[in-house]
């Protein structure tokens, strides 16, 4: 190492560590400064996810694809659900690709802090990076799944509608909802490992409470408002309309998006409030 005679200490860079209580503002500056680390964590999660698997990245499309085949057989053929639009397999797959991303994001991120105990108890960086990086890594799987969706559209000769430009909006909504839930659940999981058992169950139920395998029009009008509170219903319904065409129900979609945004902001603050005890109780 080169010998440096003196180091100038900038007195302005004083850091004060003291007890914090109650709600705290989110430290955006710190998060921005750590962006390189965040990309490293995303990259790490991508790199290690399919290590020592035979199929590797193919799992990204197997999950929604196999689910599509099963649901097509059960609901498309046996129950004969009408989609008011694209063929049932395409309809189911488009919902499943978004839903799979959401479900995996919530379950991966909720276990992320507990799965990275060493990082929580031995080193400091903005803790939000841990659950958010696990979601960031799943985006890659989602885009691979999306490519297959366009492949299926070519196969079924169903050209994308002009509404396609709205797709990023629904992806963003899904990202906000899953991040919000992921932040809250990962923080709760530190104190209550119950989360680990509860999340898979609720995700499984959520599949049936969101218009993934049935169209929204099959739901009686009086239940639609209730369904709108589930952020994923608006995102899935809107996502489909943007891809396959059809009139978007902006009130319904707007309510879901607002719900997603609220979840995200609440997630950030709840996480911020609970994070100072992570190292003590994890």
């Amino acid at each position: 190492m080169d010998t440096v005679d003196t180091i100038d200490i900038n007195p302005a860079r004083e850091l004060v560590l003291k007890p914090h209580a109650g709600w705290q503002p989110v430290n955006w500056q710190e998060i921005w400064q750590g962006r390189e680390l965040f990309t490293f964590l995303v990259w790490r999660d991508i790199k290690i996810r399919y290590k020592q698997t035979v199929l590797g990245g193919l799992w990204a499309i197997f999950q929604p694809l196999l689910a599509m085949l099963i649901f097509t057989a059960v609901f498309g053929r046996l129950a004969g659900i009408q989609t008011d639009g694209p063929p049932y397999p395409l309809f189911a797959y488009s919902g499943l690709v978004l839903w799979t991303f959401f479900a995996n994001s919530v379950s991966m991120s909720s276990n992320s802090l507990v799965g990275n105990q060493v990082l929580v108890s031995k080193v400091y960086f903005p803790r939000v990076f841990i659950p958010l990086a696990s979601i960031g890594a799943l985006l890659l799987d989602f885009f691979i799944g999306l490519l297959l969706m366009f492949g299926l559209m070519i196969y079924y000769r169903w050209p994308p509608s002009a509404g396609c430009i709205w797709m990023p909006f629904y992806i963003l909504g899904t990202l906000l909802a899953s991040s919000g839930l992921g932040l809250i659940l990962s923080a709760l999981n530190v104190s209550f490992r119950d989360v680990k058992y509860a999340v898979p169950f609720f995700i499984q139920m959520g599949l049936f409470l969101s218009p993934v395998i049935y169209p929204l029009s099959h739901v009686p009008a009086r239940f639609q408002l209730f369904l709108g509170l589930n952020p994923m219903s608006g995102m899935i319904a809107g996502f489909r309309q943007s891809v396959f065409g059809g009139k978007a129900d902006w009130g319904f979609v707007g309510a879901s998006f607002a719900m997603s945004a609220v979840l995200f902001v609440a997630g950030l603050f709840i996480f911020r409030r609970m994070e100072r005890h992570f190292a003590d109780i994890i």
Binding site: I7, R13, E14, E36, S191, Y197, D280
Partner: protein, 425 residues
Amino acid sequence: MSHIITVDNLSKKYKLGTARPHDDNLREALVHGLHASWQVLRRGWGDGANSSGPEWMWALHDVSFRVEQGEVMGIIGANGAGKSTLLKILSRITDPTEGCVRLRGRVASLLEVGTGFHPDLTGRENIFLNGAMLGMKNAEIESKFDEIVAFAELEKFLDTPVKHYSSGMYVRLGFAVAAHLDPEVLIVDEVLAVGDISFQKKCLGKMGQFGESGRTILFVSHNIPAVLNLCQKAIVLEQGRLTFEGGAKSAVDYYVGAVSREECQYESHIVDLWNARGRPPRYQPWLRKLVLFTGDGKPFTGELALGAPMRIHVEFELREAITNFDVRVNFTDQYGQMIFTARSSYEPTRDWGPRSGVQEFVCELPEILFTPGEYRIATGLVLNDRCVDYVEDAHRLKVLGTDYYGTGKIPSLGFFVQDQHWRLK
């Protein structure tokens, strides 16, 4: 305001029993009922820390000190004295309960070697990841990459996943990254306890250089010679309180003296290892009891004549059937230097097969041959080549001088005596 670290009235309290909750919280919550889970909820939520009661313990209590720029300060103390808690607060990993710390300049802390190393990633990938976690910019890591690799002496293994590394290689890589951080303040926990001696020396050398170049180091270690070697100043922590602050040499002398003053707790020849204070926090109890006898079967009271026999019973629990286990009894001097180790795996006739449940092993030492002085007895349990439990300073041994060689003189120099025969040729 030339102080780079200012610590004022720093305190931290933990709730006893919840510091490390078990993995099965669901069952626990059911057992303890709704009340318990409500308490945990309040704690998780951040309100619980204000309530006071007998179930709280102060890991740090009213600690104040200053560190000036360029100083290398040691932090000494027994297990559970609050060293790790202090470092965790200084590294921002946990908040203090009371008091405050002012840090000026860029701080890097190294509480563990290779934090965040992922076994499936290669050495090269882990250098970047670990560097980023310790606060290095990508460009900085790139510019120092060759230096890091050369320091770790791992050029050939850069593209091997670190899970195939030996523990020595792992430590070398981890320290090499940390040694190339360029902070104004470096906080180091006892990371040098691992790794081979020559690499430890290299690290100490690097840290020494680091101190000479005007950077500030806080150094926690059990390695008293390293503290003396590296630090100008030191503080001593005892049960969460700062009890001594001053030059490194006088702090070490104070600490060694303070440890001897605690001797009253070693009066019994039966030691409850299950609740022992000398267990580093990373271990869960497996060792249950240590019982010591003199050679004639009388309870051992802490003193033994040089050359006298000793019998040691170690009781521990195996939670599943295990064949590969090793019970260890280590003797160290007052400074923690290992003098002698007795291990069940050194028994040539051992054939204990798979064992489970509570075990009691007996070790016979026909002659204690350490030169007269004070020694400490530590005991450990290794399962499948991994240390699962260790209790430091479980008991003390004072070897009394005797005329071992039968010459009318008591041997006193060196570490041990040994039969020797001289003749004139």
